[in-house]
Symmetry: C2
Subunit: 92 residues, 2 copies
C-alpha cells in the first residue's frame, strides 16, 4: 500500500483526519488504512465511523485488527502500547 493511503491518527482534532481520509477516497484510492496507538485509538474509530456515516456512504470498514507494539523510552526501557489498524475500502 502506498504511504499516502495510510492515515496516522494522533492528537489533532478528529475532523482533520476525517478530511484526510475523505480526500484519499475522492482522489480514487480504493483502500485507506487508519492507524493509531494508545489513547488515540478511540479517535481512530471516530474517524472511520464519521467518514462512513457522514461523508462516504459507499465506503466500508473492511477489517479491524489490533496488536501490541513495543516502544523504547528515552531512558532505554521499553513500554508496550496497543495499536489499531482500520482498513477502509471503496467499491470501484
Amino acid at each position: 500500500m502506498a504511504e499516502d493511503n495510510v492515515i496516522y491518527v494522533g492528537n489533532k482534532g478528529v475532523m482533520s483526519y476525517v478530511l484526510a481520509v475523505v480526500t484519499q477516497f475522492n482522489q480514487g484510492t480504493e483502500e485507506v488504512e487508519v492507524k493509531a496507538r494508545g489513547k488515540s485509538i478511540s479517535r481512530a474509530v471516530d474517524v472511520a465511523e464519521i467518514v462512513k456515516n457522514k461523508f462516504l456512504d459507499e465506503v466500508n470498514i473492511e477489517e479491524i485488527s489490533t496488536k501490541t507494539e513495543e516502544l523504547e523510552n528515552d531512558d532505554g526501557s521499553e513500554s508496550k502500547v496497543s495499536a489499531i489498524t482500520i482498513r477502509m475500502t471503496a467499491p470501484q
Copy 2:
C-alpha cells in the same frame, strides 16, 4: 450470548476488566465480547491485547466491529458516540 459473556469496559483500571475476561474463559466460556464506547474504546483494545498476550495465549481476537450509537442527553438532545465490540474466542 449470555449476559455474563459481555464485558463492558468503562473508567475502571484496565486490569479489572482483564481479570473479568480471564475469569470468564477460565470458567469454560467459549466466547467473550469486550464492549466499550467513546474514550473507553482504547482501554477495551488494551484489555483484549493484555488478555491474549499476557494471560491466555490460546485465546483469539476473532472479530472487531464498530458502530455509531445515539445517546439521549439530559436536556433531550442527542449525541453520537462510537462503540466497539471485540469478540474473543477460546478453542475448545
